[in-house]
Every structure is written in structure tokens, then in C-alpha cells.
């Protein structure tokens, strides 16, 4: 067993596991992993982070538009998960809760930056998956440049949306949440979510058509 990295007082790691179980089943529910995290179990926390880190990172990146800031904010989300674990009560789904955490952090970050719109100006330092790569076709240099340009246009268009429309659209399009789930994350009504998405799509239509011209 490796020495735990987290120096948390309290129960020893793995204490909640049966003596015959040395590893947690990777299919363990998020709520059970949170219960383990609340007891100071680093392995539960690590599993939780690795399960949700990509989702959080991309949500925040699409909202903020800056890779470095998105990574810092994503880590901040998990710091708050760690700190809140002892008080966490599974009244809603864990994903709803963590999405709400991330959304609030994004909105607060914008407020603290004075509502400056950060445009995507970085070239991808870590290669992401493009639609061409997803089709298992080796992309040419031209394809890669085109994909990057399209991605940049979309990022610009997303950044131009008001914050609430942006969050609702990202949660619907990229995280595939239902209207009901988005309403829980944003703490508003389902009809408000629908209205936000209608306006967001209309705004995006104008922006993306303008780019095409």
C-alpha cells in the first residue's frame, strides 16, 4: 500500500472497507465515494476526481475560454468537494451538486474578473480529440488547422453569450443534461431553462452565420 498523499487527520485510509476488500469497485456510486472521502479515504477521493475531472475541465474551459484558468478552477472545484465532504448529504445526485459547484465558480470568476470576456487565444497545448480523429482517420495538417479554426470560432461565439445562456447551452450540448437537471444545477425553473436555450441558439445562429459569411 503506498503512503497516502493527503495528510488528513482522522480515520486511516481504507478503514471503511472490509478486510477482504483491498480495492474499491470502480463502478461504486459517487455518493459512496463521497462517504469514503468524508472519512478521509484518499482512494475514494482519487476515484471521484478521475471520474469527473475531464467533465469539469471541459465545462469550465468552454465557459471561461482559457485553458490555464480552467485547470485552476477545475482543481478548485475538487478542493471544495474535499472540504465539503464531511457535510455532504446526498439530497440530490452528486453530478447535479458538482455541476452546481462548477457553475457557481465560473460565474463568480467572471464577476471577480470584472466581466471581462476571455477569448480563446491559445493553441491547444495538449491535443484534444477532433471530429476527424474520432472517425479514426489520420488528420492532415490542413484538417487540423481547420478544426482548430472552427473550434476557435465556436469558442468566440460561446464567449459572446450572456453567462446564463452560456452555462445552459454547455450543459445541454456537451454534458447532455436534461432541462430538468439543468434547472436543478442553475436553481431555476424548467421553463426558464427552455427560454435561455431558445435565446442562446438564436444568438449563436447569428454569430456563426456571420463567421461563415
Amino acid at each position: 500500500m503506498t503512503k497516502p498523499l493527503l495528510k488528513k487527520k482522522g480515520k486511516k485510509p481504507y478503514s471503511h472497507l472490509s478486510p477482504f476488500t483491498k480495492m474499491i469497485d470502480p463502478l461504486t456510486e459517487d455518493e459512496e465515494l463521497m462517504a469514503g472521502t468524508a472519512q478521509g479515504d484518499e482512494y475514494s477521493f482519487e476515484l471521484l476526481v478521475k471520474r469527473h475531472q475531464s467533465r469539469m475541465l471541459n465545462l469550465i474551459y468552454r465557459f471561461i475560454g482559457n485553458r490555464t484558468q480552467a485547470r485552476d478552477l477545475a482543481q478548485e472545484v475538487f478542493i471544495r468537494v474535499w472540504q465539503a465532504a464531511p457535510r455532504y448529504k446526498p439530497q440530490a445526485k452528486f453530478t447535479t451538486w458538482i455541476y452546481r459547484l462548477a457553475a457557481n465558480l465560473c460565474l463568480n470568476e467572471l464577476k471577480s474578473c470584472g466581466r471581462k470576456k476571455l477569448f480563446f487565444s491559445e493553441s491547444p497545448a495538449v491535443p484534444g480529440r477532433t471530429p476527424t480523429e474520432e472517425r479514426n482517420v489520420s488528420p492532415s495538417a490542413e484538417d487540423i488547422l481547420l478544426a482548430e479554426e472552427r473550434s476557435r470560432q465556436i469558442s468566440h461565439a460561446l464567449q459572446s453569450l450572456p453567462e446564463n445562456q452560456r452555462i445552459a447551452l454547455i450543459l445541454k450540448k456537451y454534458d447532455n443534461l436534461s432541462y430538468h437537471e439543468i434547472a436543478k444545477v442553475m436553481e431555476c425553473s424548467v421553463s426558464a431553462v427552455e427560454s435561455l436555450l431558445v435565446r442562446a441558439k438564436k444568438n449563436l445562429q447569428e454569430k456563426l452565420i456571420f463567421h461563415e459569411k
Binding site: L5, K7, T130, P131, L169
Partner: protein
């Protein structure tokens, strides 16, 4: 369904959020109305275009850096001074109860430790009172200063002959 009604529900229709009956009505309208069909296609284009957004992959050091930040924030938030005393209490009520219990125990111990059997070298209150009254009673036999009213009254009361003045 009218075009104005369908236009309002096109976004929800695209997102698959309509109930089955309404979905059927919208589908039926789209089959017969080219204007609404065009609007739907434009929405679909926008939706497809959004799919071209690149996804970023977390770097391998993400978790390690996160752990480092957590350890640093735990160290920074360790209570110091008097806050350390109340670190173990989960709520203000627990801290208050502990404080009140401490005061009561202290008062009880104070009364208990004041008992004479535990400290024989300290004079008891009764002995102290007796000694004090002895001291005061001795003064009753002190001679009164001559020439004072008390002295004259004493002479009058005892009538010591030959001492009249």
C-alpha cells in the same frame, strides 16, 4: 398547430424535451410546413457546428497538483491560539455546554477543596471567630483614659470614694 406555436417549441423539440403527444404534433407540422422545416434545419446546423468544439484532456499531473493544493490549504486553515481549543467541537452548543460544565465543576471543586480536613494548617472559621471575639472582649477591661466621659461615668457607677472631683 400554428407556425408561431411550433417556432416556440422547436428548440425543445430539437433537445428531445417535448412530451410524446406534442412531439408528434410538431413532427406533423414540420412535414407540411417548409418555412418551419427550414428554421428547424438552421437550428440543426448550429447544433452540429457546436459539436466541432475541441475537448481538452486533463494533463497527467492534474491530480498531484490538486493534492498539493489541498495539503497547502489544510495547513493554512489550521486553527491557532484559542481557536485550537474549540477545534474538536462540532457546534457552538457543544462548546457552550462544555464551558458551563467546566465552570460548575470548578465551583464544586472550589467548595470541596476549601474544607478544613484537607488543609489542617489553615485555621477553621470557628477558631478564627473565637479568637476574634477574645480579642474584642479583652478591650472591655482596658482602663478608660482619665478625664474622658467614659471614665467619669465609670467612677460614678462604681463610686470610688475620695476620688470625687
Amino acid at each position: 398547430m400554428k407556425c408561431s406555436q411550433v417556432e416556440k417549441r422547436l428548440s425543445a423539440f430539437q433537445d428531445g424535451e417535448l412530451d410524446p403527444q406534442e412531439e408528434e404534433r410538431v413532427k406533423g407540422h414540420l412535414e407540411s410546413c417548409s418555412a418551419c422545416r427550414d428554421r428547424h434545419e438552421e437550428l440543426e446546423k448550429v447544433w452540429q457546428a457546436l459539436g466541432n468544439s475541441q475537448e481538452i484532456i486533463p494533463d497527467p499531473g492534474f491530480y498531484g497538483q490538486l493534492i498539493k493544493k489541498i495539503n497547502e490549504s489544510d495547513r493554512a486553515s489550521s486553527p491557532t491560539g484559542f481557536r485550537w481549543l474549540f477545534q474538536g467541537f462540532s457546534s457552538p452548543w457543544a462548546a457552550s455546554t462544555f464551558l458551563i460544565a467546566g465552570i460548575l465543576i470548578g465551583a464544586f471543586l472550589g467548595n470541596f477543596l476549601g474544607r478544613s480536613e484537607l488543609f489542617p494548617f489553615q485555621p477553621s472559621r470557628a477558631v478564627q471567630s473565637q479568637a476574634a471575639s477574645d480579642v474584642f472582649s479583652l478591650k472591655a477591661f482596658d482602663p478608660l483614659p482619665p478625664g474622658t466621659l467614659g471614665d467619669k461615668y465609670r467612677r460614678m457607677a462604681t463610686y470610688e470614694g475620695g476620688d470625687r472631683r
